[in-house]
C-alpha cells in the first residue's frame, strides 16, 4: 500500500465533494492521469473507523493565477517569444476530479472527506474494483482482462466469470473504430484468458466465432509472428499461456462453383481442421423466415410453408388426386419436382385451390423456396447433403469453432447465424452440447441487431439471447464500430463492455453522456492494445492494457499461407478425397470421372456424399455415388467424356 502522499482532497462550495465524486490537487509532476486509481485516507473517524475511499480520475484541470489571457499578452508585450524570458513561472495547479469506486466501510455513505490522496497500489486496486471477492479462495473465478498501469503500479484486472459468462450477468459488447484490430484482438485475447482461467468446476466452455469479413479469425491455431517482451511479460503476469488456440475447427461453405471451400484459410497446409458447412432442405426450411421477408410471406404463404414443413418434407407424401406418384422430399431438387407435379396436376384438373391453398400462393412459395438454394449456393445444397458443426457429437471443452461466412451473401450469413445459434440454444437447453457454456462471437453486431430498421428474425433471436441466454450458458460477445447503432436491449444486457479507440462522433451520442469529457478524449485517442472496461463489479470504467494475441493475425496469415489457387474439378475432388484417403491420386480421379461421364454437379454431389460418409473404401464409395447419380432424369447431363490422360505434374500424386 502506497503511503506517499500524492495529493490532497479539496472541496469548495462551487465544487463540492459528493459520495460519488471528489476533487484533489497534486504536485505538477505527480504521476496522475485520466484513469489513475487513487486512495483517499481520511483522518476523521466515522463510527470509530477511519474511512478509506477509492476513486478513479475522470477529469483534470490545470490553471494559473492568470485572470485573463489578456494579462499574459500584456506581460509579453504581445510577443509570444518574450514570455519565455520570464524568470518566474506562474503559480499553477493540477486539480483532478475522481469518480468514487468504493467506500470502505460502505456505510454510512457520506461525501468524500478531506484527506490525503495516495496512488493505489496493487492491493488497493483489488479492493477498489471489488475483485477481492472473486479472485481468491474457493470462489476464485476471475478472468484476467488486462493490466492496469499507472504511476508505477501494475495490477491484473479480472472480470468475474459469473458476470461475464453467466449466470449472474453475461455477454460482452466491444466497440471501437475499425482498422486498429482492437476489437478482434481483444476478443481473441479474452477467449485465451477464459480458456486458461474459467474454473473447471463451473463446467466446460467453448466458443463459436463467426468470421464475417476478411481473414480476421482464420489463423487462430497459428502462433503469432512475434510477441514483444512487454506482451510476454503481460501474459506471464496475467497467467495466460502465450500460445495459439490448441483446438480450433473451421467451417466454411463451398464456393459458388463448389470446387473448394469459400474461405481465406484454403492453403493446403491448413486443411486438417477445415470442413465444409452445408445444409439441405430440412435444415434450411426450419429457418426459411430468415430468408423470406414480410413482402414475400403473407399469412397464406406462411400456412403453405408450414404445411410443407410438417407434411411433405422428410416423409412420404401422396395425393392421388393431384400427384402422379408418392414423393419423398429430402432435397431442394425433390421439392422442385413435387411443386412441378402438383401444379401440373392442378392445371390438368383446372383447379385453383389445393387443400385450401390457392394456385397463386403455391406458385409464389415455390418461387421463393426453390430460389433459396440459388441465393445460398455453396451453403445450401440441392441434394440434401449436410455438413454441420458437431451438434450431435458434442462440442469439446475449450475448443473454438470458427464459422467462416465472409464470402457469403448477406442473406446466407443471416441463415448461418440464425441456424447455428438456434441449434446451440436448443442443444444447451437439452444439456446435449457437451459443454455448459458457449461464447458466440459476432462481429459487426450493428448489422445483425441494429438499433433501427425493421425487426428481423436474427435481431429477435439476438435480443432473446441477450435477455435469456445467460440462463442457458449461451453468451454473446458482440463487436461493433458504433455501439449506438446496436439495439439498446442488446448492449443494455451486456454485463461487460469493452471500448477501444472510439470515433469522436460516436462519443457525442447520448450513450456516452455519463463519461467525463477527459475520459471521452482519452477514449478517442486510445492506443492499440488499450481498452476501457465496464464491468458490474467496477463502480466506474477502468482503462487496461492487454497483450497482443498469441495467434497469427489475419493479414500475416494470408501472407504466410497464401490462398490456394482455383482448382479444376478433378483437382478439387482429389484434394477433398485425399483428406480421408491419402492413396487417392489425381490420375485415379480423372479416370473415375471420365468413366462415369458425370456432370459437374453430380461429381460434386458424389464428393460431398463421400466426405460425409467417410467410408472405409473411399474409392469404391465415390465411384458408387457417381454411378448412382448417372440417371436420365438429371437435367443437363453431359454426354460421355473422353478418357483423360493422367497429367504428369499431379500435385496430389
Amino acid at each position: 500500500m502506497s503511503n506517499e502522499i500524492l495529493g490532497r482532497v479539496v472541496a469548495t462550495e462551487r465544487r463540492p465533494n459528493t459520495p460519488h465524486e471528489f476533487h484533489f490537487w497534486t504536485a505538477l509532476d505527480a504521476p496522475v492521469g485520466i484513469g489513475t486509481i487513487v486512495r483517499v485516507e481520511s483522518a476523521r473517524p466515522v463510527n470509530g473507523v477511519l474511512p478509506r475511499i477509492y476513486g478513479v480520475v475522470t477529469e483534470g484541470f490545470g490553471y494559473t493565477d492568470l485572470q485573463t489571457p489578456l494579462h499574459d499578452v500584456l506581460g509579453a508585450d504581445g510577443q509570444p517569444s518574450a514570455s519565455a524570458f520570464a524568470p518566474t513561472e506562474r503559480t499553477e495547479i493540477r486539480l483532478y476530479t475522481a469518480a468514487v469506486l468504493r467506500h470502505v466501510p460502505e456505510e454510512p455513505l457520506q461525501p468524500v472527506p478531506m484527506g490525503t490522496v495516495h496512488l493505489a497500489a496493487e492491493e488497493d486496486v483489488q479492493v477498489a474494483l471489488r475483485m477481492d471477492s472473486y479472485t481468491s479462495g474457493e470462489t476464485k473465478r476471475g478472468i484476467p482482462v488486462g493490466l492496469y498501469r499507472a504511476g508505477g503500479t501494475e495490477a491484473a484486472i479480472h472480470l468475474d466469470a459469473d458476470f461475464l459468462l453467466g449466470p449472474e450477468a453475461a455477454h460482452l459488447s466491444i466497440s471501437g473504430v475499425s482498422g486498429l484490430a482492437t476489437k478482434t484482438s481483444a476478443v481473441e485475447w479474452l477467449l485465451s484468458s477464459i480458456f486458461a482461467h474459467f474454473p473447471a468446476k463451473k463446467g466446460k466452455v467453448a466458443a463459436v466465432c463467426f468470421n464475417v469479413k476478411g481473414p480476421d479469425l482464420c489463423f487462430l491455431d497459428q502462433p503469432a509472428s512475434s510477441l514483444s517482451d512487454d506482451d510476454k511479460s503481460m501474459y506471464e503476469t496475467l497467467g495466460v499461456p502465450a500460445r495459439p488456440f490448441e483446438n480450433v475447427r473451421y467451417f466454411a461453405p463451398w464456393s459458388a462453383r463448389g470446387t473448394q471451400l469459400a474461405t481465406l484459410r484454403s492453403n493446403d497446409a491448413l486443411q486438417a481442421n477445415v470442413q465444409p458447412l452445408t445444409w439441405g432442405l430440412k435444415e434450411t426450411l426450419q429457418y426459411a423466415e430468415v430468408l423470406l421477408n414480410k413482402d414475400d410471406i403473407d399469412a397464406k404463404a406462411d400456412a403453405l410453408i408450414d404445411f410443407i414443413k410438417e407434411r411433405v418434407v422428410d416423409q412420404t407424401f401422396s395425393d392421388p388426386g393431384f400427384l402422379e406418384r408418392a414423393h419423398e422430399v429430402r432435397s431442394f431438387t425433390e421439392l422442385e419436382q413435387w411443386f412441378r407435379e402438383l401444379l401440373r396436376g392442378m392445371e390438368a384438373r383446372n383447379a385453383d385451390v389445393w387443400r385450401t391453398h390457392h394456385v397463386a400462393t403455391i406458385r409464389k412459395v415455390r418461387n421463393r423456396l426453390t430460389n433459396i438454394s440459388t441465393r445460398c449456393k455453396g451453403l445450401v445444397t440441392d441434394d440434401g447433403m449436410v455438413s454441420d458443426l458437431p451438434f450431435k457429437e458434442g462440442f469439446e471443452d475449450r475448443a473454438v469453432y470458427v464459422v467462416d461466412v465472409a464470402n457469403l451473401e448477406e442473406d446466407a450469413q443471416d441463415l448461418v447465424f440464425a441456424r447455428i445459434v438456434s441449434q446451440l440454444r436448443e442443444h444447451l437447453e437439452k444439456r446435449q452440447l457437451g459443454v455448459e457454456q458457449v461464447v458466440v462471437f459476432v462481429d459487426e453486431l450493428n448489422k445483425y441487431a441494429p438499433s433501427d430498421g425493421q425487426d428481423t428474425y436474427v435481431r429477435k433471436m439476438l435480443l432473446d439471447i441477450s435477455e435469456r441466454g445467460r440462463y442457458l450458458g449461451l453468451v454473446l460477445f458482440g463487436a461493433q464500430q458504433f455501439r449506438s447503432q446496436v439495439h439498446r436491449r442488446v448492449v443494455g444486457n451486456s454485463g461487460t463492455a469493452l471500448f477501444g479507440r472510439m470515433d469522436p462522433d460516436e462519443l457525442a451520442t447520448p450513450g456516452y453522456q455519463t463519461l467525463a469529457p477527459a475520459t471521452k478524449a482519452r477514449l478517442a485517442t486510445l492506443e492499440k492494445g488499450q481498452l476501457m472496461v465496464r464491468h458490474p463489479h467496477f463502480g466506474q470504467p477502468i482503462f487496461v492494457r492487454f497483450p497482443r494475441p498469441a495467434v497469427l493475425t489475419g493479414r500475416e496469415g494470408v501472407e504466410r499461407f497464401p490462398q490456394a489457387e482455383e482448382l479444376t474439378l478433378d483437382q478439387a475432388v482429389t484434394k477433398a478425397l485425399r483428406r480421408i484417403d491419402t492413396s487417392i491420386t489425381l490420375g485415379w480421379v480423372q479416370d473415375a470421372l471420365a468413366l462415369a461421364g458425370e456432370d459437374e454437379d453430380g461429381v460434386l454431389r458424389a464428393r460431398n456424399r463421400t466426405l460425409q460418409a467417410r467410408p472405409d473404401d473411399v474409392k469404391a464409395f465415390f465411384k458408387a455415388q457417381l454411378k448412382k447419380r448417372a440417371t436420365p432424369e438429371v437435367a443437363g447431363r453431359r454426354g460421355p467424356a473422353p478418357l483423360r490422360v493422367p497429367t504428369s505434374d499431379d500435385p496430389y500424386g
Binding site: 493565477d65 492568470l66 494579462h71 500584456l74 506581460g75 518574450a82 514570455s83 524568470p87 518566474t88 506562474r90
Partner: protein, 288 residues
C-alpha cells in the same frame, strides 16, 4: 482594516552617486538575478468592544519564496503570528487575563498621551499601527535570516532600513512601491517623475534617527505614457557600498527582469514584481 496613511510630502536626500540627482539609463537591459522574494501581510479586525474600547485581532505573516527552476518554494519556514490589541489599562483586569489566556494580548496604551485616549477610532488606529509593526518585525526577522543563511540576492517588498542585517547586507534589495514620501527636493521631482521606462535616478543616501542609512534610487519599470507620473515607478533600497553606480545598475537590471510575468490582476501590477505577488498569495493562503 486599513492602516492610516501619511500625508504626501517631499524629503530631500543627499546625492551620493553624483553631485545632484540625475537621470541615468540602466545599461545592458534586464538580467535575471534574484533568487528569492520576501513579503509580509497583515489582517486585523475589531473583535469586540469592552465598553467603548475596541479589542482588535491582528494576524501577520511573512515568508521568503525561494525560486528554483523558475518555480517558487517556501524557504525555511514562514513567520506567522496573531495577537489581540487593546489598551490594557482600560480593560477590567479579569477580562485582560481572560483575553491573554489563549492569544497574546498586546498593550496599545503604553504610548498614550498623558490625558489618555478616549476616541474609539484612535484606539483602533493605534492597534493597526501595532499590527503593522508586528508585520514589519516578521519581515525583518526573515530578512535577517536570509542575510545570514540565504544564498543569492533577495528582493524584499518594501524598505530595508528598519533592520541592521537588511540595511547592511549585499544580498538584500528592498523595492518600495508607494510614494507618499518622495525623496527629492523640488528641483529633482520633475526629473524622477519624468523617468522613462528602463531609466533610473542616481542614488541618494537615506537616513533617519530610527532607521539605518541605505542607498536609494528611483527606477521606472514600465512606460508611463498616458498613465500618470507614478505609473511603473519604484524606489530601490540597498546597503551602502563603494561601487554604487555599478551596484545600482546591476540591481536595476535584476528588477527590470522581474517585470514578467505581470502581476495582474493586482491593482499595483505596474510596480509589483510577480515574485512578490506570488509570495503574497502564498501568505494569503496560509494566514487563516
Amino acid at each position: 482594516m486599513r492602516t492610516p496613511e501619511e500625508a504626501p510630502r517631499l524629503e530631500a536626500a543627499a546625492p551620493i552617486e553624483s553631485d545632484a540627482i540625475r537621470v541615468r539609463e540602466v545599461p545592458g537591459g534586464a538580467l535575471e538575478g534574484f533568487v528569492a522574494f520576501l513579503d509580509g501581510i497583515q489582517r486585523s479586525r475589531v473583535l469586540a468592544h469592552a465598553g467603548t474600547v475596541p479589542i482588535v485581532h491582528g494576524a501577520v505573516a511573512a515568508a521568503v519564496r525561494h525560486r528554483v527552476a523558475k518555480r517558487a518554494h517556501t524557504w525555511d519556514a514562514p513567520v506567522v503570528s496573531q495577537a489581540l490589541y487593546a489598551p490594557v489599562a482600560q480593560l477590567e483586569p479579569a477580562l485582560a487575563r481572560a483575553l491573554g489566556a489563549r492569544v497574546p494580548l498586546r498593550d496599545t496604551g503604553r504610548e498614550e498621551a498623558p490625558e489618555g485616549v478616549q476616541h474609539p477610532q484612535e484606539h483602533t488606529a493605534r492597534a493597526l499601527t501595532a499590527v503593522q509593526r508586528a508585520r514589519e518585525a516578521a519581515e525583518l526577522a526573515l530578512i535577517g535570516d536570509w542575510a545570514q543563511r540565504g544564498a543569492g540576492p533577495l528582493l524584499a517588498d518594501g524598505g530595508i532600513s528598519g533592520g541592521a542585517e537588511g540595511a547592511k547586507s549585499e544580498r538584500i534589495v528592498g523595492v518600495v512601491k508607494s510614494h507618499r514620501t518622495l525623496y527629492a527636493d523640488a528641483a529633482a521631482v520633475p526629473l524622477l517623475l519624468g523617468l522613462r521606462e528602463g531609466e533610473r535616478t542616481t542614488a541618494v543616501r537615506l537616513s533617519s534617527p530610527r532607521r539605518l542609512p541605505v542607498a536609494s534610487w528611483y527606477l521606472r519599470l514600465r512606460d508611463p505614457t498616458g498613465r500618470g507620473p507614478l505609473f511603473g515607478l519604484v524606489r530601490v533600497e540597498v546597503a551602502l557600498t563603494d561601487e554604487l553606480t555599478a551596484r545600482a545598475d546591476l540591481v536595476s537590471r535584476w528588477i527590470l527582469a522581474e517585470r514578467a510575468p505581470v502581476s495582474l490582476p493586482d491593482a499595483r501590477w505596474d510596480v509589483m514584481v510577480y515574485g512578490v505577488r506570488e509570495c503574497e498569495q502564498y501568505l494569503s493562503a496560509i494566514l487563516r
